[in-house]
Symmetry: D5
Subunit: 147 residues, 10 copies
């Protein structure tokens, strides 16, 4: 059985060889770029058909297709990320966490935004003063159950 | 000099007394709900006119207006948040951090999304299967300088 | 505004004065013991009618009723609990976490058990070799969304 | 001597080859699915007959049977788990720990629920609004000894 | 309701005033010194009669007697103790933990020594080369349940 | 030079092959089971004659005998142990640390129990309600020097 | 694909063989010593022409040139550095952090010094009492956006 | 005796009342802005004459002057700073620490930059693309002693 | 009962009022400066006569004398000290710990230097290139007991 | 290029083969035992002549001599050491840190003892009650610079 680390390494190698972007790869199998990339990094899993479609696009064999379908055990580095791009996202959660909580409670009541029934989209907004990254997170509101 | 903790307490008390939402409070001074709430929680600062406008809306005196203009020293609880709503946001950064990094690099080159030249918006998307929280983050792309 | 710590202290005091158990208190307002206790400890919130019902039972005033309705910011002590009763629960998660993950994935596919759309029940099972604690957790299965 | 990591790897491989579920594997040797899976993950040990029965079912040799009988040194990743399924269980302990302590004390007196004289069962509850995971923990109550 | 910290302070003050040792205090109520001291430090609880007996010995009122009966939430300082006397005990667990595990498993099978059904005794062994501290721990062996 | 990890592995393998217990092994060289086991786990060192005696008993060569004499650098896993048997010992130190300190100070004055001039013994106490583990620690009292 | 660790090892080896300093290496490709060194240590990336220029200078092949262009995931050892040279820099941030914050706010308003649009220079200042290290950091001021 | 926290609070209050900047305050006593601010924040100490000069400028009494001369025990918040301005400085140490070490060793040999025989200067560099913060650190090189 | 914090505060205040150094204070009671200072900081305890002698010298009452005799529970800030003077000592332990272990083992065999039967002396060595601090630690060698 | 770990391993092996002590090794090259051992453990570096002298004494080749001259990146295990000999030194810093700070400040003014311009000596003091370890640290006093 191929593990997720080897799966990721094989995909990255084939992706460079084919000269494909993550966007093109995602489009070729009819999935979003964020979800597709997260599966290839071992943080989500594909259904059988998507797994085989991706392997076909990249010319990879069925061991990779199987690994893409395995349900991952998610983990990441330490409690506080270090890479500046990822740290800034962590900082946003720290600085705006209470604010987001207050506004979501105001609009929806007591509950949370699901990180499971969740999608994300990343776009480039062109701007003469410097282009901007636009991240859109969309998660189902889950109200706390009272019983 | 009034510190930020006391400032926040006085604003929360007046807000309840006036029966105002964060959205209405923000609208009354012509600022966004996210930024307004974050200033009231002591995580950002207002210009003088916005600080006085907010105090006028809430019937608070100039000590609060002064505290709203002070530049905050930002801090939050521990490295890993515990409240479920805030933890889910942290989890999103953990699960999707490498994915976001890969896609931002693909679209923009080596650099980061600024958390300083940054705006955020939180909306409610009505949905018969359960309403959804939509968080939009918009940050300037900052390319790494080579020298 | 009364904070959750003071609310809890007032409830505990009144509960001792009235000589009521958590079970009796919960029954008096038509809610479950686990949920009722967690609200009184500041970890969940009541609807307005349940908050006033509980205050009526205990002879507490409307400040407490208001505090019971406030949406809590949940937090607990450190990362690893120390009290032996709570530590044993933490140990169960450590020892059986991967096992629970494997069996839930086998029955349901890739996803999680919700801790939000969630109920818990604690019962005593009489046993001549020593009575047993029976904890039943019931959470909605949330499948990971692919997009 | 075969260590637990290799034992687990061999079992997982044989299990996939045989196309067996954890439930079927447990049933074939007359043990519960939770305990069987936890032994295979190296978190508990089997008696000699169960160890050999499992190896017979899976066509594994006696090195694996020996490793299944070794008493494990239990350990898990870090203090706060990261995988969302396991984290939610940790969160339940954090949010409801004091509540569970209060209710167990109310029903049993000062003591704990054993994590050693302990069984667990995981079931699927079908529900038109979304199936639910039902986890039942059953542990002997151990009263604190006074001396 | 008196909390455990105040209870301990009142007992320590009265103990100094009466000029009593922990041993004498324990003997006066017919309990062991270790258990008695641990209750007075808020780490265990007394039955009603022992609580009142201790308060009688020390001339303390019934608030203290009530607090002595409350079931404690146990906690201690950090993960690694700093006081040299307590650190040495921690070091013994670190240095001899695997050894104790191996010998207990050899004598009893897979299981643990209970810290709940547990007693401890501390004696002075006179020795011309320097007196020695003798600590005896006695805990019920709890075998892991297979199911 | 053979390191301690390899030394331990060779001893464990030979011990299984010879079918010897730690107790029998210790007896064969005229040392206590706790000390012998701790040396074999790399946490203490033997004198030359004991090292060779143990290797003779187990049929191991002089590389192992040399490694048994090397002075170890002691270390263990993390700050808070995870294996339940070892964790319970840690919990005892947490719960009873202040109590042990108070009673040792009462009997001996200001000082500590040595963990270096120290012996430990582990016995099985048969009991119809369940056998009990008896751990006896015996350490020299070291008074703080005033100068 | 060559990873950053191997890239750094190959560069260090070639640099020793050629007997070149970091300064000379930087000068040979028309970049600053700090940036050049940081790229070779895997903390920044080069444009294609600089990557090939460096490989030409050092006689390295195109695998290294490719690795020099890869966008790095930045990370470093733990939260508090241990090497004395690096620790002293950390200590400066600890001791003077609030001071730097106060003076930057006084000169620029609320905002930060960018660590992305950032350059650094290290010079030797000769001094009869002992030469001095002069570190100059130059980062764009980024004002907090209000919205 | 006045402690450093109270000293800082009194200085900040007087500084606001007088409407003085840190720069003006430093100039009034003939010291640098960075050192002066760090003393007022309790991270360094003044000689007697500078302490009295500062108190004269701000109209503060001799308790403050005494506190300014006390040798501080330096400490800061946690291991990883959270305020974005201070975090960026920490990030610079993380990202460029090995680079700075390599270049300082290349210029000076094995040793460190002193954080004690150390000065710092912060300037504003006007720039049409956005003003820049220029931080200059100047520390004595201390070679490792061989003996 | 006076606690150690208040005891230290009273001693520091009286010491300033009397204009005495730690050295003079120690000499006045016939004890060493290091031990005397450590007792006054609450890290060691005095015999009755020394406690009263110190209070006589400083004009303090018997509450302080009693507190000086109490056996302290020693603790310090965090795991890694921050004040530069104390950090340098920690760094010495980190950098030279294995070296000290090797040399002590070479001279004495397997064992440790006691931190309990221990004295310390701090002297100033005048030197034209800069005066030097000379710290002499003297601890009894404790050999590991084999049993 | 040989790294420090391999260098240390080769030296330890040759030292055992030659049957030399650290003291004899140090004497053979005219350096102190503490410094020599620390270089061999990779915590300091030698000048070229000392590096070659040591290799000649031990019969090692020039790869080792080169590695002995490399400037080390110092690091050690975790924040709190575990080996009892090293932990006792850490404990001394914790218990006596504030005392050492007070006495050094009293003798020298505000500043620190250098850990860079620093020497250490370890001696055996024979004593009928048990031999004693005498550690002498000698570091240049560095006064804080005011500017």
């Amino acid at each position: 059985m191929m593990n997720k680390e080897l799966m990721t390494a094989k995909i990255l190698e084939a992706k460079v060889d084919k000269g494909m972007t993550w966007e093109a790869l995602a489009e070729s199998i009819g999935m979003s770029p964020v979800f597709t990339t997260s599966v290839c990094f071992g943080m989500n899993s594909f259904s059988e058909d998507k797994a085989f479609a991706l392997c076909e696009t990249l010319g990879l064999d069925k061991d990779v297709a199987q690994a893409l379908q395995d349900f991952p055990k998610k983990s990441w580095d330490g409690g506080v990320p270090q890479d500046p791009l990822i740290y800034r996202l962590y900082e946003v959660v720290g600085v705006y966490g209470d604010t987001m909580k207050a506004l979501i409670h105001e609009k929806f009541g007591d509950g949370i935004m699901s990180a499971i029934d969740f999608t994300m989209d990343i776009e480039k907004e062109e701007n003469p003063k410097g282009d901007r990254v636009v991240v859109t997170m969309n998660g189902k509101f889950l109200p706390y159950k009272a019983w």
